[in-house]
Assembly symmetry: C2
Homo-oligomer: 403 residues x 2
DNA sequence: TTGAATTTGTTCTAGTCAAGAACAAAATAG
DNA sequence: CTATTTTGTTCTTGACTAGAACAAATTCAA
């Protein structure tokens, strides 16, 4: 255990606020509403935000001047009275989303609404070194930008890395599957591209993606659990915000102890969720390649053999134990299951829910829903892009898009 | 599982903000600084809050008019230059803290700084019914107010209940040790006393108490674990705010699954932390009464018998498993152990830390500290009072103290 | 003891912000 | 074509914070 004095953090609770921050907050409120709703009339924005018509007018003028919002006259009017302008996030601003895995790296160009408008995959047959993959990413970004028909302004780059990331500066502390240790990835990519870079853990970004664009849209408290080839991770949304913890390492939900079993996870810890639910067991039992997700879906949709049934039931019980714990800890509205855990849910929904609710207290259990994540393969990259998008949305005046 | 649509919550992220809220926020910032620091000069307030001297001047005038702050001229001046006024929270405003247990209920008068200035215990040989204990509390409040030498203005009543509490309205959903079910305690006490009432879970309030007044003062991310005669509970502070969850039931940290064991906790769940660390085992082994905390301290300070050693080691291992999980989930700066768990820590600190850090990832573990809670027996009641205090501090204009 | 330097409180002004009123614009309904 | 309804725009008002200028209260040095 450490002996030095713990680091205290001063909250913004004690910081003074002035008119500038009011304006910034109100601009962000409009942008947040637009990102949640695709397009809204001015009068709807006024109603939803609680602000006056005249204030909305001023704010919209400013957002249009910043190039973040575009307005059109409505095609059809269903009400009587003067028709209200329809506003939506500008399609001329975009961000890059990057997802780094051991065998490939995806780079996508994503609009502020979360739509992928261009995409390219960098294959890495050997494990990529940070400097090497950064050069490839920078090149790919150039290519993607050059092949766009209309000029785009870029808000930044969001990157998903399978490891422990210090959010403050995008330092990759440890990424076991990439064999990266203490790689200052964020600052390196920032230097290589000149764009603001935001780095996060891949499973955590799955959670923010589902929250921003997927099954958890509009919810304030969710727990997201994900299993992929690199183990089990997750992310938690608390009061609408990602649970970050002291330095951004929170959300390692695969490394919770749920059993006395001596079996070890990829970090060498025994009895954890990740040590016990090993998706490769099921893939092997069904005779599938380790990353054949489609094959898994079709195989699980059909009647299972005895061995596969046993694995499924065992894993349902284990997953249920973790779900129970997280329900009691977080009192979420929604627990989302992604990757292989979503497949377990789809195949064994009733039993999984039954096992889970056996050990959830009545009060936190009463409005709790368990669902499968819905974003699929682009989930993580959308979450990564979301990092850059939300940075832009939260500080529209200070961080105006470059290019 | 439920079939109705999950409840979504709209965050204040999308709500417009105006000048009124700026003032309210800045007043709250000053009060928060004063509650963290007991007394501060005006110039220190300006530095810490980042606001201008002139703004501080206006704010202090308003806070004095509200009767929430008092200022004195400093006794000694160490600097050259005009001496700055020394401000502190007014001692003429107080709140009531109430802690309800099965055998007794404590009612305390607590200043805004968290000092207990008067206290009275209501004994309840039989389990108290809600209506009955409310009458006793109302009477005790009258008595405590009448016996004060100087007149006090009262900001509200904070109540700690050992059960699942809906924070929004203080509804006690279930309090097994009191045998209360769906008791609208908050609104009942509000009606009986005419004061604003805030109700919370007792273990959760232990966390907020340590955060506001105790070992976790100034930290932003902490996990608090507590064991008492009614089982194991806890509370989590995330980014300086209590983790509430969708309806306020978050923080049931005793009901996390850590083992395959069939032993059951007080809610009938098997394999949970509460089911496995039973403090009565140790009390019985040492020949102590179930609530003899002092006896436990002295007994644990001396060499233990073989059986007690075995219990201690077993419980250390189990507690360590939970600590590991919470460190990986929350990445806190501090994990605090209260009640019997604090005693385990004191008796077996080295081994406990060793067991715990075996299964904590390197990054979340590196600035993590494990400590014993320091507030002792008045912890919960201070947390309860803290509910009313923070309500007053956060909305100083709207909720001005009554009486 | 006196005056310079320093720090802080107070007052006044300037600039920004949101709300609301008044008015203009653009649709529907008859 | 006119009345009604709804929305956008403009102008005024009130509230807020920041900053400048000045006054007040201390220390330090001569």
């Amino acid at each position: 255990m450490k002996t030095s004095a713990p680091t205290k953090s001063v909250s913004s609770q004690t910081q003074g606020r002035n008119n500038d921050q009011v304006r910034e907050h109100n601009l962000a409120a409009i942008l947040t509403l637009l990102s949640q709703n695709k397009s809204l009339t001015r009068s709807a924005l006024a109603t939803l935000s609680g602000m006056n018509r005249s204030t909305i007018s001023v704010l919209m003028t400013e957002l249009q001047a910043l190039g973040l919002v575009s307005e059109i006259s409505p095609d059809e009017t269903l009400q009587k009275g003067r028709p209200s302008f329809v506003a939506s996030l500008s399609s001329e601003v975009a961000v890059f989303g990057v997802n780094i895995e051991s065998k490939f790296t995806d780079v996508c160009l994503v609009t502020l609404s979360g739509e992928i408008i261009a995409s390219q995959r960098i294959s890495t047959p050997k494990l990529p070194a940070p400097q090497q993959i950064i050069e490839s990413i920078a090149q790919t970004i150039e290519v993607l930008l050059a092949t766009q028909s209309k000029p785009l302004r870029i808000g930044g780059i969001g990157v998903a890395v399978p490891g422990q990331i210090r959010l403050a500066d995008g330092l990759v502390r440890l990424a076991p599957h990439l064999r990266w240790v203490e790689a200052p990835f964020g600052s390196m990519l920032e230097e290589a591209t000149g764009m603001p870079v935001f780095v996060g853990n891949n499973a955590t970004l799955g959670a923010t993606a589902e929250h921003a664009f997927g099954a958890a849209k509009g919810y304030s408290d969710i727990v997201y659990l994900y299993s992929g080839t690199s183990g089990i991770g997750g992310g938690v949304i608390v009061g609408g915000e990602l649970l970050r913890g002291a330095a951004g390492y929170a959300g390692e939900l695969g490394h919770v102890v749920i059993s006395d079993s001596p079996s070890e996870d990829y970090s060498g810890f025994h009895g954890t969720l990740e040590s016990l639910i090993r998706q490769e067991d099921m893939f092997a039992c069904l005779g599938l390649a380790a990353d054949d997700e489609r094959g898994l879906e079709t195989a699980l949709a059909q009647p299972l053999g005895i061995e596969a049934q046993a694995i499924l039931e065992s894993q349902s019980r284990l997953l249920a134990a973790a779900i129970s714990s997280f329900a009691n800890i977080f009192n979420p509205q929604l627990i989302l299951l992604g990757g292989y855990l979503g497949a377990i849910y789809a195949a064994d929904q009733t039993r999984l829910a039954q096992f889970a609710f056996e050990r959830i207290l009545s009060a936190p259990g009463e409005n709790l829903h368990i669902r499968r994540a819905e974003l699929g393969p682009n989930q993580i990259i959308k979450g990564a892009a979301g990092l850059a998008i939300s940075a832009l949305i939260r500080a529209p005046k200070s961080s105006s898009a470059i290019l």
